[in-house]
Each structure stands twice: as structure tokens, then as C-alpha cells.
Amino acid sequence: MMKRRLSPMKTQEWLWGYIFVAPLILGIAVFYMWPVIQTFYFSFTEWGAFNKYSWSGLKNYERLLQDKVLWGAFRNTLVFVVWSVPLTVIFSIIVAALLNQKVRGLTIYRTLYFLPVVTMPAAVSIVWKWLYNGDYGFINYILSFFHIQGPTWLSDPKFALYAVIVVAVWMAIGNNMIILLSGLQGISSSYYEAAELDGAGPFYKFFNITLPLLTPTIFFVMVMQLISAFQMFDLIFMMIGDKSIAIESAQTVVFIFYKYAFLDNAKGYASTIAIVLLVVILIITAIQMRLQKKWVHYE
């Protein structure tokens, strides 16, 4: 175990330390690490009725390579990531910067932007579904004033995914805004005072002081946002659903995982998909960690 000889006193302290963190460690071990290990094992098995399963070696991985539907889902997920992550981060920075001023009614604005975060995704989906409705939706009602016949947004393969992206961005802003706000408040005001003495305008200050000093926070937000974008499921499931004619052009990897695991009862193959997604996310996060040296400035 331990190479160094510890005094009895130290041993005591160590032991107590472990005892205090034990509940948390155990929780993570039981409800997180163990399922991950099990999922990895299941990805080499074949499942039948009533969860009877047998070892099938690499068969699931072979099937995955030829699964056109899954690759389509990966494509959709990438589209989702490529659009939603930058938009979310950019809007969050703008909103956070605006809410960092001294405006009247600041708390009201902050609450408004934060509301989508505390609302259940199910409720958000239902409301947006009505806004997007082709025949009776608010969006098409507005368009009709300009004599435009709007599409059935969520049931049209061309628009469905992008309609969901809009909602996802709108939902994610609140959370990231709070994180970025705390980052903004950590920037010392002496920088701004110095810049003002040199006659710097607000835009100059924003791009040359605020943004560079905010990069650590932006980096954190981006990593988290990317991971959650890759795991998009709930909005797709509730706003489009597996019966829709637009689902093929909007289903994400996790949605496909759900379909295989719980609708087709192919839990072994679904585990394979989960593992592959985990690897993809790990690789992308590793790349981000590498790249941060290039653009993240720590004071």
C-alpha cells in the first residue's frame, strides 16, 4: 500500500479522511464506475428476450461499422454539435457581459435568462411544440402577416433538427451565463481603470481585456457544452419522437441508443453504441485540452 512509514498520528488522519469521503466514493463507484465497466462487458454480448444474454465477441462492433442508420445519427449529432455549441457559447458570453453592467432591474433580467434552466425539458418541449406547430403555431401565425406559409417545422426533415437546435441553445444559455458571470466578476477592475486612463472605448475593453481574461471560463463552458451536445436526447425524444416522418434526419446517437436498448431490446448492441460514443467524446475532450494552451490565458 503505502511506501512511506507514517506516524500513528498521520495514519489516524488518513483513515478519517477516507472515512469522510467514503460515502461519495462509494456512490460514484456503485452508480457510475461499475455500470461503465458492465456496459463495456455487455458490448460483447447478444441479448434476447427477458435479458438472457450470451457472449458474442466482436459481432456488435462489426454490425456497428455497417449500420447506416447509426452513421446517419452520428452525422445529425455532429450537425447538432457544430451549430449548438458555438451559438450557445457566443450568446452566453454576450448575455453575461450585458448582465455584468449596472442596469436597473438587473435581477429581473438575470431571472428571465435563467428560467429555461429551471424549467423541466418536458414542459419546454410541449410549449415549443405548439410554437412550431404547422397549422396552429405562433411562429407560422406571425409569418402569415408577411404572407409566408410556414412549414410544419418539427415534421419536416429539412427543418426539424434546426428547430430543436434553436430550443437547445435557448435552454443552455442560462446555465453558462451564470458560470461566465462569475468569471467576469473575478476580473480585477484595475485593468479597466488603467485602460480608461489610456482612453479605451467599451469595445476595445471588451475584446482586449474581458475576453482574454475570460478564456479559462469560456474553455470550461465549451468542454461541458460539447459533452452535453453529444449526449442530446430529451428534446429530440419529446419534440419529434420516433413516430415522426422527420426523425431520420434528426435522431441523435443517444436517441438511436435508446431505440435499440429499449424499443428493440438489443441491449448488447446498444452498449456497443454507448461505448463508441464515450470514446468519441473522450477523444474530442482530449483534443480540446491540447488546444487550450494555444488560446486560454491564465492570469
Partner: protein, 440 residues
């Protein structure tokens, strides 16, 4: 103090070991030897008549069943003071998920609801108690139920379930919209052409009003028209698909033509955005093919109450309608087979059927009790649902129905949206379905 901490730690350790040990399962099926006791069940395995025994009863009764449940339990417990009934009610969406999980852990409810598509999977995997011997020893009369339903719950010549209720499909229509366009109401003499003709007359694009909703629905829609065209979804020996046969394609074409050729129905995209049922209950659609289970909702709907009518399905090449019914089954591994059987018999009795007719949710399967259900909504001609029994055909099932019924919505919906022709959709569907059937 320190000892308490150590003990807590120890307890946690044991919990983890328990979880991981109990959570894994051997390769030959998910039976855990350490199944937990005490889930509302008594620990005793001896069923002494003096002891109180609790029987769990699971279903997906909606709010409409609440009163019926209470009455049934009360009536049964009065007769059997030593048996308590514990009801586990789950919404249908989660019911099968939950049941499957319970089956894996050997924790199936003692008595529970079963449907056609899932039945064979449970029977073939030895999850259900075969009732043959019990029926014989008690002279239980299975002739009290429609034969098609008794057969639905028979596997390998052995009965596993007692029919609970059944449902057939009818044409629900909005009289107000018919009167407005001076079209005669649908009736049993109608054929497809008459239906299409009426649907066109009732369509009014300016008002955003359609004659019929060509809803993409199996039981309420294309299953019926495929049968009416003389086709079938699955062969009698459960070995091959009928979707690529010209008759089946004819049955699909009936619906897709209503959308694309006659423009008498909302498009698939519109019906995805707003459910056909909601269009009907808000007066945007004049006709809707839907099940008998809607009778209560439609009769109590504020808008439809005084406008709603119902008629038998029109005739294609022949008259036909899909019938499906639920069954009551009991778990093979129940701890109290005797008491569960008592309760199962009671659920199949005329007394319970009469309780159900009062609430009017479903048509009881017990022969002769249907009249009361028909009378439960005096303003509606519910008799048509019973009369159609004469030419009803079974809901298509196989051992693993779910393996191909999911394909229906994946592939056939493309015919509704116009992406594929009915012929092409039928061909693709049959190819995929035959693959799935070959693997059974």
C-alpha cells in the same frame, strides 16, 4: 465514536457488495439467487387458509378504471377474507418496460394484464402459468368468451390467459360537419368508394377542414383496410409477411390516396404536428377511424357531445375489422398459485364484467354482458362494435411481435408522407419483416 464510523463504513461496503453481486446475472438468463423479499408479499411459502395472503395485481388502468378497481377488490375481499389484493397501476407507456424488468428479476406480479403482441414472448419463455389443468379441475367454462380471444391467449395448444375485454374499430363522425355539407351519415352499407366520395365532399380547404384523417395507425387504420382488401399482415403459420401482396398494398393505397390523390385528408406532416384525434375533437376533421375505447371520451367531450356519431367500417373487397382484446394471466412463479387462481377466476366472472360495463371503458369479453356496455352511452350506436364481431379478424402477432411492428412505423410511414409508393413500402416492409420472422 470511532467504532460507529467503522461500522457505517462496513455497512456501506456490504451494500456495495450486495448491489454488484445481485446486479450481475449469469450467462444462462437473468435469474438472481438473491432476490429481495418483502415487496408487499408475505414471506411464508405455506398458504394456510388461516393466514392472510397478498396477491399483487398489475395493469395499466387509466383514470376510468379507478372506480372499477375499487369495486372489484371490495367484492373479492368480502368473499375471501384471507386474501388481500394489492393493485399496481402503471401508465401503458411504462407498463411493459416495468413488467419486463420484473420478469428478469423473478418478481412478476401474481396476476396481471397481457396483450396480444406480447403474449407469445411471455408464454414461450415460461413466464406464465399454464391454465389447462386448473381449468379442467374446476370445470371453468371458457365458452363464456369469444373464441377469437381465447385463441389469442393460447400457445402450443395450452391456455394461458382469460379474456378480459375486447375492442373493435368504427367510423366516428361529426354530424355538424355532415349537416353543413348536406352529406348523408355513414352507415353499414357503405363501401370504400362511398367513403372516399363523402370525404371529398366534406373537405373545405378555405376553412382548413378535411373530410377524413388518413391517420397513420395500425389497429385503427391500415390493419382494417388490408383485411378488407383481402390481404393479411402475417401468414397463419407466422412464417411470412403479407405486406408485399397486391391486396395488402391495396389496403395501404386506400389511405395514401386519400392524402395525395383525393386531397381529402391532412398530410402526414400535419398529422404528426397535431394528432388526428385532436383535429377530430376540434372539428377540423369530419371522419376518423378509431377504436371502441374512445366512446367514453367522445361522449363526454364538450365540443363533440351532441355532434358525435359512429358507424361500422365500410366494405372493401369484403367486410372486415381488426379485433384485439386484453387477457388476464398469472405468473408461473407466483408464491400463491391457489389464491392467484381464485382471483383470476373472479376477474373472469360475470360479476366483474358487469362492474366494467358500468364504467363503460372497454367492452367486457364475457358473452352476454356486452349489452350493458352498449347501453352505457344511449346517444351512440355502440352496437356496431359488437355486430362487427361476425367478420372480425385477429390482431397480427407472432412470437416476437415487437421485432417487426417497430418496422411498420419506420417503413410504412414513408408511404404516408409520399416518400415511397405503397408498392415500394410494402416490398421493403415484407423483406425486413421476413428477416425478423426467420430469426424467431
Amino acid at each position: 465514536m470511532k467504532r460507529i464510523f467503522m461500522l457505517t463504513l462496513l455497512a456501506l461496503m456490504v451494500m456495495v457488495a450486495g448491489c454488484s453481486g445481485g446486479g450481475t446475472s449469469s450467462d444462462d438468463g437473468g435469474k438472481t439467487s438473491t432476490s429481495t423479499e418483502g415487496q408487499g408479499q408475505t414471506d411464508s411459502n405455506t398458504t394456510d387458509s388461516k393466514e392472510t395472503v397478498t396477491i399483487t395485481y398489475a395493469g395499466w388502468g387509466t383514470s376510468g378504471y379507478k372506480d372499477a378497481y375499487a369495486m372489484i377488490v371490495k367484492a373479492f375481499e368480502e368473499k375471501h377474507p384471507n386474501i388481500k389484493i394489492k393493485i399496481e397501476d402503471t401508465p401503458n407507456k411504462q407498463y411493459w418496460q416495468k413488467l419486463e424488468t420484473a420478469a428478469n428479476g423473478d418478481n412478476l406480479p401474481d396476476v396481471f394484464w397481457m396483450n396480444g403482441p406480447r403474449f407469445m414472448q411471455y408464454a414461450a419463455n415460461d413466464m406464465l402459468m399454464p391454465l389447462g389443468t386448473l381449468i379442467k379441475q374446476d370445470n371453468y367454462d371458457m365458452n363464456n368468451y369469444p373464441k377469437s380471444l381465447v385463441d389469442l391467449y393460447t400457445y402450443d395448444g395450452q391456455s394461458y390467459g382469460i379474456p378480459k375485454d375486447f375492442d373493435t374499430i368504427g367510423v366516428w363522425y361529426n354530424k355538424a360537419l355532415f349537416d353543413e355539407k348536406k352529406v348523408e351519415y355513414p352507415n353499414a352499407s357503405w363501401d370504400w368508394n362511398k367513403m372516399i366520395d363523402a370525404a371529398q365532399k366534406l373537405t373545405d380547404p378555405a376553412k382548413g377542414q378535411w373530410g377524413i384523417a388518413a391517420n397513420f395507425d395500425s389497429q385503427g387504420g391500415y390493419y382494417n383496410t388490408i383485411y378488407q382488401a383481402g390481404g393479411y399482415m402475417i401468414s397463419d403459420d407466422k412464417k411470412s409477411s403479407g405486406y408485399d401482396k397486391p391486396e395488402a398494398i391495396e389496403g395501404i393505397k386506400f389511405w395514401t390516396d386519400l392524402i395525395h390523390k383525393y386531397k381529402a385528408s391532412p398530410t402526414m406532416a400535419q398529422m404528426t404536428d397535431t394528432e388526428a384525434l385532436n383535429m377530430f375533437t376540434s372539428g377540423k376533421v369530419a371522419m376518423l377511424w378509431e377504436g371502441s375505447w374512445n366512446a367514453v371520451d367522445f361522449a363526454n367531450n364538450d365540443y363533440l357531445k351532441d355532434k358525435i356519431g359512429v358507424a361500422a367500417l365500410p366494405k372493401g373487397k369484403q367486410q372486415s375489422v381488426v379485433i384485439h382484446g386484453l387477457g388476464h394471466v398469472m405468473s408461473k412463479n407466483t408464491k400463491h398459485p391457489k389464491e392467484a387462481w381464485e382471483f383470476l377466476k373472479f376477474l373472469g366472472s360475470k360479476e366483474v364484467a358487469d362492474i366494467h360495463t358500468k364504467t363503460g371503458v372497454a367492452i367486457p369479453a364475457f358473452n352476454g354482458t356486452q349489452d350493458a356496455w352498449v347501453k352505457s352511452q344511449p346517444n351512440l350506436d355502440l352496437q356496431i362494435f359488437i355486430d362487427q364481431l361476425a367478420y372480425s379478424k385477429p390482431y397480427p402477432v407472432s412470437k416476437y411481435t415487437a421485432k417487426w411492428s417497430g418496422l411498420e412505423s419506420d417503413i410504412l410511414k414513408k408511404a404516408w408522407s409520399g416518400e415511397l409508393s405503397p408498392e415500394e413500402a410494402g416490398k421493403q416492409m415484407a423483406a425486413k419483416m421476413n428477416e425478423a420472422l426467420a430469426a424467431e
